[in-house]
């Protein structure tokens, strides 16, 4: 059963040449004349693209900015029509997008739910039956009869998204949804998507969040310059895409990719005139490069970098994110050695050690940065998603998991100290024993 079919679809945009080249005429009247003369240029955002999506399948579409991802999204959701070709859609299709832009500030949250819900194609009766659940999902129960102009931006976005999350389509379009709201709201959204997926909804996920694509999708289409460059299993396609984009190096203890990165060309390496990155890697305690880390052992993130100018105080800082794109935590070098000490020019290596029994299972990506904090914060080098590694739990009882074998919740999994006191052993005599004393006092 085919739910979606792109049949040799092309989409042409006409770009006026003057939008890309600067105006040379100073006189506004001459500029108008020049604009009339400039020829428009054609630009094929999507060219001769064909693919199919089967019922119940989750397909990811990845690629660079400008590769045609968002044009495909617009074509699928009928926001714009193709220039050539045909798109067959078999089923009720909805896009899971934040529609807060359709909100009217003077109207209350409740009124806006009806307005936005109708815009997304829900019937009034359907909205009325779902409004409690929508409000609950967005976490704005207290403010639902307040005009949305009094909402915080977070509430605004959550409510807008909650409405879309309550659509019940046959085919669901997802577009960078995992970037909405705080961590707990994101978790709710992912859970909702998984519910829909489990219920057999066909999903098309258009994103540059490769981790999320790998987790959600069974098949991935790689777009490049408006055409399908590759199609296949998520892991293979994502690997192909990453390798084509400067992921280099193979870790020593496991064939794979992503735990080492080298910037051989000094001109294009991340950084500025003050400092530039040379390489980055994920390492184990024994010094070897590692793509996979046992949950109970510590892991080092090591960067080496050039300081090109004397006299700057530089603070390396790393940002850890999980599969869902949740920013787990950030670390920076606050050790005394180079904290307030201007550095002489030279090559440095810095390693941050993340303790064992702290990270949760799963894939972790690390953004690397080197900043200065004084007098004002300035980022000298920044490389998002520079290295990745997998945290694995071997269920050996050494980790925080203990003897539990189910899905362990939470974005981190610290092992903490516990204390337990025995007040009394044997059978309890009465419910009002001194066991309840503390509660009674504090109440």
């Amino acid at each position: 059963m085919i739910d979606l079919e792109f049949n040799q679809v092309s989409k042409k945009y006409v770009v006026r040449a003057d939008e890309t080249s600067p105006d040379t005429a100073v006189n506004p009247f001459m500029r108008q004349l020049q604009r009339l003369r400039t020829r428009s240029q054609e630009f094929w955002a999507v060219r001769d693209v064909s693919f199919q999506v089967r019922r119940g399948e989750a397909v990811g579409i990845i690629g660079h900015n400008g590769a045609g991802k968002s044009t495909i999204l617009k074509l699928l959701s009928n926001i714009t029509a193709p220039t050539k070709g045909e798109i067959a859609i078999n089923g009720r299709l909805s896009a899971l997008i934040e529609v807060g832009s359709g909100f009217h500030p003077e109207l209350t949250g409740r009124e806006n739910v009806f307005l936005s819900g109708s815009i997304l194609g829900m019937r009034r009766r359907e909205i009325a039956s779902k409004i409690d659940s929508i409000v609950e999902f967005a976490g704005v129960r207290q403010f639902i009869d307040t005009p949305v102009k009094r909402y915080s931006s977070g509430m605004y976005v959550r409510l807008g998204f909650a409405i879309a999350a309550h659509l019940d389509p046959d085919i669901l379009l997802l577009d960078e949804v995992l970037a909405v709201g705080d961590a707990s709201f994101q978790a709710k959204c992912i859970q909702r998507i998984q519910e829909l997926e489990a219920a057999g909804t066909t999903i098309v996920f258009i994103s540059h969040d490769l981790n999320a694509v790998e987790r959600l999708c069974q098949r991935v289409i790689l777009m490049d310059k408006g055409q399908v460059a590759a199609e296949g299993m998520p892991r293979d396609i994502i690997k192909q895409y990453q390798l084509a984009n400067g992921w280099t190096g193979v870790p020593e203890n496991k064939p794979g990719f992503g735990s080492v990165r080298l910037w051989e060309d000094r001109e294009t390496a991340p950084g500025d005139d003050i400092t530039r990155l040379r390489s980055a890697r994920v390492r184990g305690t024994d010094g070897s490069t590692a793509a996979e880390i046992d949950i109970s052992t510590s892991v080092g993130i090591e960067i080496s970098y050039d300081v090109l100018e004397d006299g700057h105080v530089l603070i390396p800082n790393f940002h850890f994110k999980n599969l869902a794109g949740v920013h787990l935590f950030a670390v920076q070098d606050v050790g005394s050695e180079w904290r307030r000490r201007p550095r002489p020019a030279g090559t440095y290596t810095s390693t941050a050690w993340i303790p064992g029994n702290f990270l949760s299972e799963g894939r972790i990506t690390v953004d690397l940065a080197i900043s200065a904090h004084s007098p004002l914060t300035r980022v000298h080098a920044f490389k998002p998603e520079a290295v990745i590694f997998d945290v694995v739990d071997h269920y050996d009882g050494n980790g925080a998991r203990g003897d539990y074998i189910g899905e362990f919740p939470g974005v981190v999994r610290p092992m903490v100290d516990w204390t337990t006191h025995v007040h009394q052993t044997g059978e309890l005599r009465t419910p009002s024993s001194n066991f309840g004393l503390h509660v009674a006092q504090s109440a």
Partner: protein
């Protein structure tokens, strides 16, 4: 702490889908083409979005009067102010013929449908550009945007009509059965306003000049319509050539406004020829404007 196990087993390759009983609409998206015969298909799609039209129209009316101190009085103020201005002007400098009725009520009876028409066309034409954020984000039949403004203008009409009733009572003008003709006359006016708005709003997506020029157009249009002067003054004029009179009469708002005044103020039957012409022109233009609108809609999001 209770450990919550999230049990979601992805059913890859489920053939049934989750709504085995629900019908799955099929559609094919193709490059746009101009075809007046596709109108019926568009109407079907519009019908399935009727709840949105209802919600948006109610929303227009609500928002219009929320957070404005005068609220509903604004609907009355425009025709009333214009009436006062013209009444004062024409009582001071030369008399304007008014087919025997007091000038104030003569002018107001025409200003009521005219301002409704002008408000409807003005708001509806800007309806698309004002919702660019939505149009680039989510699909719904775009004609709902101008349409909701047209219908909402009827609320203004109803409020301003209360003042007309007051004037009729004050001047002791009694209504006849012919006043019922005002219903088809107003419907004709809204159909015509819709045709114009569909055309202009679609045009404005590419050419913002439409929005700039619209206030001027509406102003000129009012003077080309027997609002502040009677139609008889034009027809009996010896200076105006016959061809000009003929062209003048082709304007649907002439038949609409003049006949509205006839059935309400003079209590006589409408002039069937001019009303028929207005209705004919409106019904001819509407499908054309709609087909043009739908043709533009296909790539609207690329330009807006």
């Amino acid at each position: 702490m209770t450990v919550q196990a999230i049990t979601t087993e992805p059913m890859a390759g489920s053939q049934e889908g989750k709504h085995p009983g629900r019908s799955r609409p099929s559609s094919v998206l193709r490059p746009p083409e101009f075809s007046p015969f596709a109108v019926f298909g568009h109407l079907g799609a519009l019908w399935s979005y009727r709840d949105l039209l209802f919600t948006l129209t109610a929303h227009r009316i609500k928002v219009r009067y929320k957070q404005s101190a005068l609220g509903m009085a604004w609907a009355v103020l425009q025709p009333l102010a214009l009436m006062l201005i013209y009444t004062v002007i024409f009582s001071m400098i030369g008399r304007m013929p008014s087919d025997g009725a007091p000038y104030a009520v003569f002018a107001y009876t025409a200003l009521l449908p005219w301002t409704t028409f002008a408000t409807a066309v003005g708001n509806a034409t800007n309806g698309l550009v004002g919702h660019a954020g939505l149009i680039t984000k989510v699909y719904f039949p775009r004609e709902i945007l101008p349409l909701s403004y047209i219908i909402a203008a009827l609320a203004d009409f109803a409020i301003a009509a209360v003042v007309l009733v007051g004037l009729l009572v004050y001047y002791r003008i009694s209504l006849t059965m012919h006043v019922l003709w005002s219903v088809p006359i107003v419907i004709t006016m809204m159909v015509f306003a819709l045709a114009i708005s569909l055309f202009l709003s679609a045009l404005q997506v590419k050419f913002r000049d439409v929005g700039m020029g619209l206030p001027l157009l509406l102003q000129l249009w009012m003077f080309a319509t027997p609002v502040i002067y009677p139609l008889s003054a034009v027809m009996e004029s010896t200076k105006a050539p016959d061809t000009l009179k003929f062209l003048y009469n082709l304007n649907p708002t002439v038949g609409i406004v003049e006949n509205f005044r006839r059935v309400v103020l003079q209590g006589s039957a409408p002039d069937y020829a001019s009303l028929g012409l207005a209705a004919g022109v409106s019904l001819f233009l509407l499908p054309l404007a709609y087909a043009f609108f739908k043709r533009t809609e296909a790539t609207m999001a690329d330009y807006i």
